[in-house]
Subunit: 274 residues, 2 copies
């Protein structure tokens, strides 16, 4: 059977959707069974600002940073992730002959999740509890819907939000959603691409990129990850634990970024004990 | 086999998505094979205004009014139609136990269309030619994708844009797209619902509603339709010509609007020579 590859491309500043479509269409053309997962954080911040709804973040006591998602924020989030970014990618992929089908995690209950009931947030040095946040994590993936589309020659293009069992849309981390998707599909490869090249031992030193997690040891990688990179390392570990053969945390910048990551550019998780 | 019903709900002011979801979920629960098509014009105008991109219209020499769709407008259009309105409807339907899957006409090439190369527009009494408009009409529907979803127990929730064969997203009339969808599915019923109750002989007189097109004669109905209603009558005629058993042009306002239209409230096209 053809290789199954799940590619997650972040929505950070500087990432070109045209480059993503070009590079992704090349791996589709190679005959692999492909799924694209995308973010849209930078564009959401831009649109939020223009609409007068400034983006806010939550910082957990352990330093994890996430988007504060009230209902007004989720509305903008859906406009940008499910509307603007998803449909632009689908359009660009169709121009390259890829039969792309864009879906959010809400559609068909594709990404079933649980909502966080209370989130601890550090604000001005004090820890407060937030109870109305519309965020959570993916606990189940409808692999049957994805497999049905893939077998019919379609290429799923997926994006948050996810949805709870009782039908509430929730913001979820797209890296971990991509990891859950790769595990549910029994994928051979998961690429987690953003505007950074991988995990560095020293965030400020490009020469300190960790190339092979197997060699460096997972503890060293966990200890080196900062900010958003913590999520990516966690997502990579979850994918490996879920049976994915190889995970690469790498760059989505420039032409052919996906092919480069597939060839091993970035931080490679392979042969790592789950 | 179960009845196939395509419901189009407009995006005009005053239409409640919660009411639409409630009423539509009742016909899904009745066992019919259902497809929901929606617009989003009013919300698009609101968001455009907030983003500083005012909505503009084109008036054809025959008086037909449509949205002027340049690239910036299409971007907002996709945010609202494919993001905000589509995902809100999918979320509301899931809360009522409907396994809704939201798709635009771009996804999977569901609505294949041709772009208008030049549009005549009457501006300040002069007729000008517009060549860069991203609009057109649906010429083909991927019924196989819809049937695959419906057979799997999913309920498609569809929205413009459509897409050209070379992968360019185009704004299309959602009433006529719904008619093409109903014809492609061999639907028994098409409901075209908006914030008006049907076709009136005299637009200003609620008592002049034409209840049965068969009795009134299609020429009288065509002559009575004004503005946006011209499109709906054209869509109804296209659906009947395409083999749809019955079309109702009716109201989407209030609770149970879809059930009322299904029971014949509005202007009913049945037994009309195509």
């Amino acid at each position: 059977m053809a290789r199954t590859i799940v590619v997650k491309v972040g929505g950070g500043e500087g990432i070109s959707l045209a480059h993503v479509a070009e590079s992704f269409s090349a791996i589709v053309a190679s005959g692999a069974r492909c799924v694209l997962v995308h973010g849209g954080s930078h564009e959401t911040n831009v649109v939020s600002e223009r609409l007068g709804i400034p983006a806010r973040t939550i910082t957990s006591p352990s330093g994890h940073v996430s988007r504060r998602t009230d209902r007004a924020t989720l509305d903008v989030f859906e406009m940008v992730y499910c509307g603007r970014v998803n449909k632009t990618l689908v359009e660009l992929l169709r121009r390259r002959g890829v039969d792309a089908v864009g879906l959010s995690g809400i559609d068909g209950g594709l990404w079933r999740g649980v909502r966080k009931t209370a989130i601890r947030s550090v604000e001005d040095g004090r820890t407060v509890l937030i109870r109305d946040d519309l965020s959570g994590r993916v606990e189940g993936v409808d692999a049957a819907l994805l497999a049905m589309l893939i077998e019919a020659g379609r290429v799923p293009v997926l994006t948050p939000p996810a949805v709870t069992d009782d039908g509430v849309a929730i913001n979820v981390d797209a890296d971990r959603a991509a990891a859950a998707t790769a595990a549910a599909l029994g994928a051979d490869e998961l690429l987690l691409l953003s505007n950074v090249e991988g995990v560095r031992r020293d965030p400020g030193d490009p020469g300190s990129l960790i190339r092979e997690v197997g060699a460096a040891g997972i503890d060293a990688v966990r200890a080196s990850a900062r900010g958003r990179m913590k999520n990516k390392v966690l997502a990579a570990e979850e994918a490996i634990a879920g049976g994915v053969g190889r995970v690469v945390i790498g760059s989505a910048l420039g032409a052919n970024a996906i092919n480069r990551a597939l060839a091993g550019a970035g931080t490679v998780f392979e042969g790592v004990a789950a």
